[in-house]
């Protein structure tokens, strides 16, 4: 009964760790110690990582970054209006999409029954920017100004054609929900650098109402122990729900309660050896430490006016994208490993010119400000910032193509993202789409390749970070993915 022996070993290891002056929760400093340093040789696989330190005592490869800020743009931002300049679409505006380009690509139910597919040139002008001369749309003036710091990938592609499977695919490596998200894998593999804050924090914002929803499995832990899930920090008075003590309970009482609870849970664990009990204890203790750490991290009153000028006036309003970007910088300063922002509202099936302006106005200044702010503090050396969505948009118009209005449907075959920070090239554009912005013609980067590259930058070999579940080993990139070396500095 190997599984049972593993669990028994877990129990012994946990007791050793908790008894040997490394009791979690005793002091914040001591709790940061990586127990694996002491048991350097012991690297028991599988459930052992549910207790004690992260799976990897040290990364597989030399890491180039230590933390990631993923600015996820939910809904599918239109690359043709933002980063992928296609003048030919303008000249061919209104013409039917040639079958030679479409090559029978499946369409969503929304446009599959359209009688015609008129191509829509972008209403927005592009210009070359920076020393690299990269084409960026006029919708993103702030991003354009920092384009020499960015690594833009124009040849991303995916198979998923609808939002939920597509976002799930980008975040978990599979179109079906149930697997751990990137942040959860990293928390499981590399652990946290700050014991008082979760290693995976999620911040949500939206610029338009009624756009595509998000689900908590997108930052969930899947089959990994549940302490690796992303913790959502909300704007407003109570950033983390149910974190603060209710009236009548003070911190000392809370500590006594937790100690008593731990004794009970240890007894239960000795009987059933359920690893989820360990996970729950870890989360209780983490919550206890977060009670002091979170208000400090979320308190923007210490920031100077100059900082708010940099991020834009929105940054003073909690719950906006700009405020979240500023928070992301503060969390990065506190060494949170994976900070994910979700910004909803990019699903422009119709009214694209008007709505995309709303969207870019809400993100442009703050995204650029985040990069600049991280750089001047020296954090960009070992932080990776990613900006992008789950798929792109079609070059033909959804619905009637009018003089000043059009919409675009989902398009998985090509989309653009950008990255900035340690380990990726600066002022570099990777990959190319065809003249009409439909297919990738050079250097395609699949979502799995992107995930493999992301893990590589953090020092993790995507083929070696595994978890055995239901009889087989899983990894973030499933059985695919190759590190894109051209993106690495």
């Amino acid at each position: 009964m190997d599984g049972l022996d593993d669990l028994k070993f877990n129990g012994t290891r946990r007791h050793f760790l908790s008894a040997a002056s490394l009791g979690i929760g005793s002091t914040a400093l001591a709790a940061l110690l990586d127990p694996s340093i002491l048991s350097a040789a012991a690297q028991t696989p599988g459930p052992a990582a549910a207790t004690g330190g992260p799976l990897l005592a040290s990364p597989h490869l030399v890491p180039r970054v230590k933390r990631v800020i993923y600015l996820f743009q939910s809904g599918g931002p239109s690359q043709l209006e933002l980063f992928d300049y296609k003048p030919r679409l303008r000249t061919m505006n209104g013409q039917e999409l040639p079958e030679s380009i479409r090559k029978g690509q499946r369409l969503t139910g929304m446009t599959a029954h359209q009688k015609s597919f008129p191509m829509a040139g972008s209403q927005f002008d592009f210009a070359r920017h920076g020393k690299s001369g990269t084409w960026v749309s006029d919708l993103l003036p702030h991003t354009a100004r920092i384009v020499d710091k960015l690594c833009i990938v124009r040849s991303m592609h995916t198979e998923a054609i609808n939002h939920d499977p597509a976002v799930t695919f980008v975040q978990t490596g599979s179109q079906q929900a149930g697997r751990p998200s990137i942040g959860a894998w990293l928390s499981y593999g590399l652990g946290s650098e700050n014991a008082n804050l979760p290693g995976f924090i999620v911040l949500l914002s939206r610029a338009r109402e009624g756009d595509q929803p998000l689900y908590s499995w997108l930052w969930g832990s899947g089959f990994l122990p549940s302490q690796h899930q992303g913790v959502q920090f909300r704007g407003g008075k109570d950033p983390v729900l149910f974190l603060n003590d209710p009236k009548g309970i003070d911190r000392a009482s809370r500590r006594r309660m937790l100690d008593a609870l731990r004794t009970l849970e240890e007894q239960q664990h000795a009987r059933t050896m359920d690893p989820e009990i360990d996970a729950r204890v870890a989360q209780y203790e983490m919550a206890y430490r977060m009670q002091t750490a979170v208000p400090d991290a979320m308190d923007l009153s210490a920031e100077s006016d100059a900082v708010f000028d940099l991020y834009g006036a929105d940054a003073r309003k909690p719950g906006t994208y700009a405020a979240n970007c500023l928070l992301a910088r503060r969390l990065a300063e506190r060494n949170v490993r994976f900070i994910q922002l979700y910004h909803q509202g990019w699903d422009q099936h119709g009214d694209l010119p008007k709505d995309i302006r709303t969207m870019t106005q809400s993100v442009d200044q703050a995204s650029a400000a985040l990069v600049v702010d991280l750089e001047r503090r020296g954090l960009l050396e070992d932080t990776l910032v990613i900006w992008g969505g789950e798929f792109g948009r079609t070059n033909y118009s959804q619905g009637k193509l009018e003089k000043d209005n059009y919409g675009r449907d989902h398009h998985p075959r090509c989309f653009s993202i950008w990255m900035a920070g340690g380990g990726v090239k600066r002022g570099y554009t990777h990959g190319e789409t065809d003249e009409l912005g439909y297919n990738v013609v050079r250097d395609p980067v699949h979502v799995h390749d992107f995930q493999a590259t992301l893990l590589h930058l953090l020092g993790v070999d995507h083929e070696r970070l595994l978890f055995k579940h239901q009889g087989r080993r899983y990894r973030l990139t499933d059985v695919h993915g190759q590190v894109v070396k051209d993106l690495l500095a």
Binding site: H60, V62, V147, G378
Partner: protein
């Protein structure tokens, strides 16, 4: 079918020592004979010696000829050695005949001596060429002291000086691989009659392979015959270079393997290939220091750090961990502020100084007093002392940090005076100076003193105005169909 010629020919390296010894001995005799009273009796041995020399020279030359024609030899060196070897044999014969005449007629000493001297000169050249055929170029000079190396143009880095410019742009094959092949392989697998039909001096030859097929499988070094033979045990029949010759240095063999694994391209520049850490110092020695691309690991051999020391440091509230699996280098971070103990905590790192690669002391209570300890961490490549009370005095102590590439000084009290010590750091590539007391003038001076140094001041990003040619044509909204 027995190849009798090849069998006999293989004795050439053995047989050739006899005429060499006898001719040299004859030369020594001539010198001894010059002494006024005791000299001349030596000459009694002259004639027999020269006869034996001529006979053995003839036999050795014949064996040599048979060896040469047994196949696989070719090239300029070989041709010259062949001709000069025959000249030596003929010269030895002429010298012997002259000695016979001297014996019979009693005169003609000078003829003998002249013939002998000429033969010896040609012998030296032919002999050196013969050894070059066997051992390769640069055999004698490879380990020579530096003055001799420059005098004779030897030394392993001859080709390095030929390439100037950014190493990342250097095409890997001509600058790194071709010299290795030239040095070790082309003497046999070169122009003329290459051995085994394999010619390694041109890209076409490398791709084509030899009599038994291609020797390079791009992308798979372990399936490539070229690599397989290099890695065979020394006593194996097929090992390359063949037995008796110097095997490839590990650096050169590693380069070949890496190049083949990377696709064996003849044009790809270095920047496009992923360079494994163990080859980095080899490439840097030949092409020059590579710029920051991927985390730099200094090329020093270090044992793993003592676990007891790691535990002690961890107990003091210092986060230390290896940078990667199996690496002896550590990333170190002081956690929390503990004034005034922070300087002491840094001091406790002194025993591990050589292992520290990345050091983060941001937002701690360290003072300038901690910097002499930091200065002992000579392998540090990244140092973060932002938001501390470090001043110019501390910076001056950092002079020994020869590997330092990135320095974060944001939020410190550094002034222009401290910038001067930064220019002296040889590998410093990026320094962060936001919210310090430096002035634009000071920064300009620093940039002038260290042009390759990137200074991040935290000004808003300035962008060049878009060129007129770069703007998209201004058009109205798209016309409907």
């Amino acid at each position: 079918m027995i190849d009798f010629g090849a069998f006999v020919g293989r004795f050439h390296p053995l047989l050739v020592h006899f005429p060499i010894a006898f001719l040299l001995l004859a030369g020594a005799l001539e010198l001894l004979a010059l002494r006024p009273r005791t000299g001349p009796p030596w000459l009694a041995a002259r004639f027999p010696l020269l006869v034996v020399a001529a006979l053995t020279a003839g036999v050795a030359a014949t064996a040599g000829y048979l060896l040469g024609s047994s196949g696989g030899y070719g090239g300029a060196t070989f041709d010259l050695h062949l001709r000069l070897g025959i000249v030596v044999a003929i010269g030895a014969l002429i010298t012997a005949l002259a000695a016979w005449r001297r014996q019979r007629t009693g005169s003609g000493d000078r003829v003998v001596r002249a013939a002998l001297v000429l033969t010896l000169i040609v012998l030296a050249i032919a002999g050196h060429l013969g050894a070059t055929l066997t051992h390769g170029e640069g055999y004698l000079t490879e380990f020579a002291p530096a003055p001799l190396q420059t005098l004779f143009g030897g030394g392993p880095d001859r080709t390095a000086a030929a390439f100037t410019g950014a190493p990342e742009r250097a095409a890997v094959y001509p600058t790194l691989i071709q010299p290795v092949l030239q040095r070790h392989c082309v003497s046999c697998h070169g122009p003329g009659a290459p051995r085994g039909g394999l010619s390694l001096d041109t890209p076409d030859g490398i791709v084509k392979g030899g009599d038994h097929g291609p020797v390079v499988t791009p992308g798979r070094a372990q399936s490539s015959e070229l690599v397989r033979r290099l890695w065979l045990p020394a006593h194996h029949a097929d090992v390359m270079p063949p037995r008796g010759q110097r095997p490839l240095p590990p650096a050169d063999a590693g380069l070949l393997r890496w190049w083949i694994d990377g696709g064996a391209s003849f044009e790809q520049p270095l920047g496009e290939l992923e360079l494994p850490p163990e080859l980095r110092p080899v490439v840097e020695a030949r092409l020059g220091p590579l710029s920051i691309g991927g985390p730099t690991i200094p090329a020093v051999a270090l044992a793993a750090p003592d676990p007891a020391r790691l535990t002690a440091a961890a107990a003091a509230g210092i986060d230390l961990r290896p940078i990667a699996d199996g690496s002896p280098f550590l990333q170190v971070r002081l956690m929390g502020r503990e004034p005034p103990a922070d300087d002491g905590r840094v001091a406790s790192l002194a025993p591990l100084a050589a292992h520290v690669l990345w050091l983060t002391l941001a937002d701690t209570a360290i003072t300038d007093a901690a910097f002499p300890v930091i200065a002992r961490m000579t392998n540090v490549t990244r140092l973060d002392v932002s938001r501390t009370s470090a001043t110019d005095g501390g910076l001056q102590a950092l002079a020994p940090l020869a590997q330092l590439e990135v320095l974060n000084l944001y939020g410190t009290k550094v002034t222009d005076a401290g910038l001067a010590s930064l220019a002296a750091l040889p590998r410093l590539r990026r320094v962060y100076l936001w919210q310090t007391a430096v002035t634009p003038a000071g920064v300009e001076r620093l940039r002038a003193a260290a042009p390759k140094l990137e200074v991040v001041l935290g000004d808003d990003a300035q962008e060049d105005a878009p060129t007129a040619a770069g703007r998209a044509p201004i058009a109205g909204p798209p016309a409907p169909r």
